[in-house]
């Protein structure tokens, strides 16, 4: 991609806050993600990651603050944001009773692709994944996750959000999944990913760690390891992730 905006920031978050009653799930969070970056969004269960992601993908309105994704305001341009992003959750998002190709056709249709585009991208996807057409329900978890990621990229979004995509997936398939991430990033797609595998955090260009609704640290894995004088992101996480 050589369009003028290619070096721009893909995500700009300023003072983003979300309250549920008296509970502040996301508290004055600000950060940027560069276009084509693999950004690891880390935090313990309940730290506010999912709430933040829901705001960034337009499923939840912020209480205050702002966020732009692919240059679009998540509060006022929600519909356009959704067309420019892909999303894959920790819970498998494809239809088990449909075949691989039927799922691709369904999502392609939802994203407004025409039949020729769907056919071309579907055959490319099967080839890249080395997958034959079959009922999705019959695929092992790791394959379903790789397929779900590819389907999230079907409409060539600017930014893809992955919420614990490799939970419970075996070591080889996790690595194959990350190679799909690298390949997408190399094509210019911005990848925003959460994970509980701290070795995967090391694969990100930059990571942030969220604790009780705040981002407590942000940088490249190397910078952060130097800053805390430790050998792995896991050690930083263990030190920071549990609030006092």
């Amino acid at each position: 991609m050589t369009e003028p905006g290619a070096r721009e920031r893909a995500i700009v978050v300023r003072d983003l806050t979300r309250r549920f009653g008296s509970f502040t799930a996301v508290d004055n969070v600000s950060f940027d993600v560069g276009a084509g970056e693999v950004f690891g969004f880390l935090g313990a269960n309940g730290a506010g990651k999912t709430t933040a992601i829901k705001m960034l993908i337009g499923l939840l309105a912020p209480t205050s603050g702002s966020a732009h994704v692919a240059g679009l305001d998540i509060a006022t341009q929600t519909e356009q944001v959704r067309r420019r992003i892909g999303y894959m959750s920790q819970r498998f998002s494809l239809y088990e009773d449909l075949t691989v190709l039927e799922n691709i056709a369904l999502y392609g249709g939802i994203y407004g692709l025409d039949d020729a585009q769907i056919a071309a991208r579907a055959s490319r996807m099967l080839k890249t994944l080395g997958l034959t057409n079959q009922l999705v329900g019959r695929l092992p978890l790791g394959w379903k996750q790789k397929l779900a990621f590819s389907v999230a990229l079907l409409h060539e979004p600017a930014v893809v959000f992955l919420d614990e995509p490799t939970g419970g997936v075996d070591p080889i398939t996790r690595r194959q999944f990350w190679e799909l991430i690298y390949a997408a990033a190399a094509r210019g797609t911005t990848v925003f990913v959460t994970t509980h595998y701290m070795d995967e955090a090391e694969y990100c260009d930059r990571i942030s760690i969220m604790v009780d609704g705040h981002i407590v640290t942000l940088g490249t894995p190397k910078e952060l390891k130097t800053k805390w004088n430790v050998g792995t992101v896991d050690e930083i996480f263990v030190r920071l992730a549990r609030a006092s």
């Binding site: 790791g142 509980h196 792995t232």
Partner: protein
């Protein structure tokens, strides 16, 4: 040494045309944490279901606490604690209601089991009136473990108890398992996390319904058949792709901040492989890349034994 508490001999199980388990044989010793490590679909859950008397084996025998899983199912059920892989609690019931429900099913009360579950349950007790669905992942696991323990079982079966749980909660969970083991409880647990496999007393690698190797986790790397080298460099993805094209590359995998390169020549000295690799990377334009020989860990061995998982037949 006391008799093994789980004895499995030649157990096989088919579902329609799928062979879930094939001639599985192993023992679990009294008071150990025994780990089952394998990819999704390897047969781990089927094995748990046979040992907890929920599924019958097609052939072979298995005993738990000296009781036969087919003949003595009722006697076994009251003495095992089982935490299935998927969330096993009632989401519409509160934390306290779930716990007393599980106690009553086993004909006991929360009070009678309280001292055993206290180290775990105390951490979620402040949320006793919260609905289970509203708990975070880590708290759900603690409640599920409390429910599996409340009837004071003699052995605990945990099917991927920490999937989806954050790194800190996982550590806490395993600290608790260690304490339970130290108090004499036997634990059989499956996990996709290799750091957790390292905390087991012995580990069985499972793939395609067969046990590939059973050893203490620190010994599993010893049988690694090929020279292994760790590589670091700035542009990791390009480096990875380039290393895969190296003349004797067997496999290249990312490992945290490093890449692990396995050479395809079993008799080559790893130090020689490393210096050859340094030259190769220089020739490919990776000026900052360096390598050094390493010994294999459990994850290296596991991936080597698995190789790429085959996709199922259409």
């Amino acid at each position: 040494m006391s008799d093994p508490v789980v004895v499995v001999r030649d157990v096989s199980k088919k579902f329609a045309e799928t062979e879930a388990l094939t001639d599985v044989t192993f023992d679990v010793n009294d008071g150990e944490i025994f780990g089952l490590v394998g990819p999704d679909g390897a047969g781990k859950t089927t094995l748990f279901r046979i040992l907890t008397t929920l599924v019958l084996p097609d052939s072979g025998t298995a005993t738990v606490l000296g009781l036969d899983v087919v003949r003595d199912l009722w006697a076994i059920r009251s003495r095992v604690g089982y935490m299935p892989g998927r969330f096993s609690l009632y989401g519409d019931l509160t934390v306290a209601e779930n716990l007393s429900f599980f106690a009553s099913v086993f004909g006991t009360t929360v009070e009678k089991g309280y001292d055993l579950i206290a180290p775990i349950y105390k951490q979620i007790e402040p949320f006793a009136e919260r609905r289970a669905d509203a708990l975070s992942g880590g708290m759900k696991q603690k409640l599920a473990l409390s429910c599996a323990l409340v009837h004071r079982p003699d052995i605990l079966f945990l099917d991927e108890p920490t999937t989806g749980v954050d790194a800190v909660s996982r550590r806490e969970f395993w600290d608790q398992l260690g304490l339970l083991r130290d108090s004499g409880l036997t634990v059989v647990v499956s996990t996709p996390y290799m750091d957790e496999a390292m905390r087991c007393d012995r580990v069985a690698l499972v793939q395609g319904g067969r046990l590939l190797e059973i050893d203490p986790p620190r010994d599993i790397g010893r049988n690694y058949p090929l020279p292994l080298v760790s590589v670091t460099g700035a542009d990791r993805y390009q480096l990875l792709l380039s290393l895969r094209r190296a003349p004797h590359a067997h496999s290249v995998y990312p490992f945290g901040a490093e890449l692990h390169y396995t050479d395809d020549r079993p008799d080559r000295d790893a130090a020689t492989v490393s210096s050859e690799l340094d030259e190769y990377m220089q020739s490919q334009g990776f000026a900052d890349a360096t390598s050094h020989p390493i010994s294999a860990g459990i994850e290296d061995s596991f991936m080597e034994l698995m190789s790429a998982p085959a996709q199922p037949a259409p």
